[in-house]
């Protein structure tokens, strides 16, 4: 199948190095300590953060750091064909773990000992790159909850189809079975906290694809920062002195 037309356009009309449109909204869940909706093109994810709060299960309480928990679910209506049991399958458990580890790496857990932070992410519309979208949404929600973090962790994916590196794969490109590199990146510290790849890639191409994904992460980070700054200013001026 042809994923990049001779004119250099992808199936959804993007250039190979072009991202989908980003949109973020903070404060979607009123009862949560922090929440956000994040969209990458047709992928739409909602995240809610509760805590830091008292640990539910005393046995899990840690005396030197906070307990971070994460739950990833896909809404039944998120994909083309309706899923019956969206929770508890292997894929969800794996992604929950991936998100938890990525977020744990940037949360300053030692500042909140003996407490727990719950992150709930739900995919409302799935169109490829849900993993990245979830991480970005969770970052926003954590920042909204006022939880101290080393850096804004952002994520983006990149692939390699028709001998062209492609940024931010959508569902059709994702299911082509080609290599798909998902990167979680700390822009300020210039560190990679998540790196996953399906399928195989030659080493020299891998370098360029990963670099492309990192560039994508930086673009996402710039956008998130804008959104957060706007939100902070708004909260401050509304409150008044």
């Amino acid at each position: 199948m042809e994923f990049v037309s001779p004119e250099g356009l992808r199936l959804d009309g993007r250039r190979p190095l072009e991202m989908r449109q980003l949109r973020a909204e903070i404060g979607a869940v009123s009862k949560a300590d922090g929440s956000a909706v994040f969209e990458m093109g047709n992928t739409k994810v909602i995240a809610a953060v509760y805590g830091p709060r008292e640990v539910e299960n005393r046995a899990q309480q840690m005396n030197d750091q906070a307990l971070v928990r994460c739950e990833y679910t896909m809404a039944n209506f998120s994909t083309g064909d309706r899923v019956r049991k969206p929770k508890g399958d292997r894929r969800s458990t794996e992604i929950s773990m991936v998100i938890r580890q990525t977020m744990e790496a940037c949360i300053m857990t030692h500042l909140m000992p003996r407490s727990q932070i719950d992150i709930f992410v739900q995919v409302l519309q799935a169109d490829g790159g849900t993993r990245s979208a979830c991480i970005n949404a969770a970052t926003l929600a954590l920042a909204d909850a006022g939880i101290p973090m080393r850096d804004l962790v952002t994520s983006c994916s990149a692939g390699y189809l028709n001998t062209t590196p492609l940024l931010d794969l959508n569902y059709v490109e994702d299911s082509a079975g080609g290599p798909d590199v998902t990167v979680g990146y700390l822009p300020k510290l210039d560190k990679v906290t998540l790196l996953q790849m399906d399928s195989k890639l030659p080493l020299d191409t891998f370098e360029s694809v990963m670099q492309l994904a990192i560039e994508g992460c930086k673009a996402v980070a710039n956008y998130l920062r804008e959104v957060l700054l706007e939100n902070t200013k708004q909260l401050e001026y509304r409150r008044g002195s």
Binding site: G27, S30, M108, R150, Y237
Partner: protein
Amino acid sequence: MREIELSLNQTQKIRLQRALDRLQSLSSKSTSNSSVTVADTIPVNDEDGILKGHGTLEVDSEVVATVCGVVERVNKLIYVRSLRSRYKPETGDIVVGRVVEVAQKRWRIEINSNQDAVLMLSSVTLPDGIQRRRTPIDELNMRNIFVENDVISAEVRNGQHDGIWQLHARSNKYGKLDRGQLIAVPTYLVKRRKQHFHQLDKYGVLLILGCNGYVWVGELTEAKDSMEVDDVNESEKSNAKSSDQTKLEENYTALETRENICRIANAVRVLSILGFSITVEVILEMCELSILLNLDIHDMLGAEFCVTVAEKEAVRRSL
């Protein structure tokens, strides 16, 4: 980016936007551009030694914010005051909390903080009001004072080395709260002040603005030494009423008071929706305004009243 969740029509939208723009221009006059987000560099003078406070981190000899908020500078100390975050207790704060557990010699109280706080049996006044050593019998009778899910008011006493905060309720004004509403608002909207207990005699309402973002609006009852009052009453009425009836009367709140409670509670809710800081003055002003406009209590949560309040606030702050 945080949208106000109201269904506004076109005119109201424009009016609200204008009011908010006005607030924005007012606040930008007084404070310079000092909002930061996570991982923003905070500019500092390297020559004079600086102290890094909360919400900051040193990365490659740069001071970097770890939370979203406003940079505050006090002499050499630089810290970031975060807006939306959980309550951080400080000694002397007045808080409203909910009892989650009755344990040995203590209650565990949920106060919207990182961890539950502890209220020791020895730091409450007993119902009989006598100062004495707490006996095992008192321990058995702890449920007569507070049980699970009771809402109480207390003062933060001190923090322990393990991060658990102790409360005390060693005064008549603290203790169990009943016949009223508890409203949870974001913590940053309640400022620490001299007074957090407000007896609104005009409305017959007791308003407690807990530092932890829990606001209590309840019936204003007479001083808590109800026992003496009861004695007098009973002798006066010369046992005309059966004890059942007096009990009923005790549990009865007049309709007017209940309405006032709802009105004040809705004023607090509107302020929390709009994200304006919550003070008694503003709440009372809003109540009077709503009465003046002849608004029903449930209409206070409607779009029109919110917009009016936003406009009023813009006028108030520009004075």
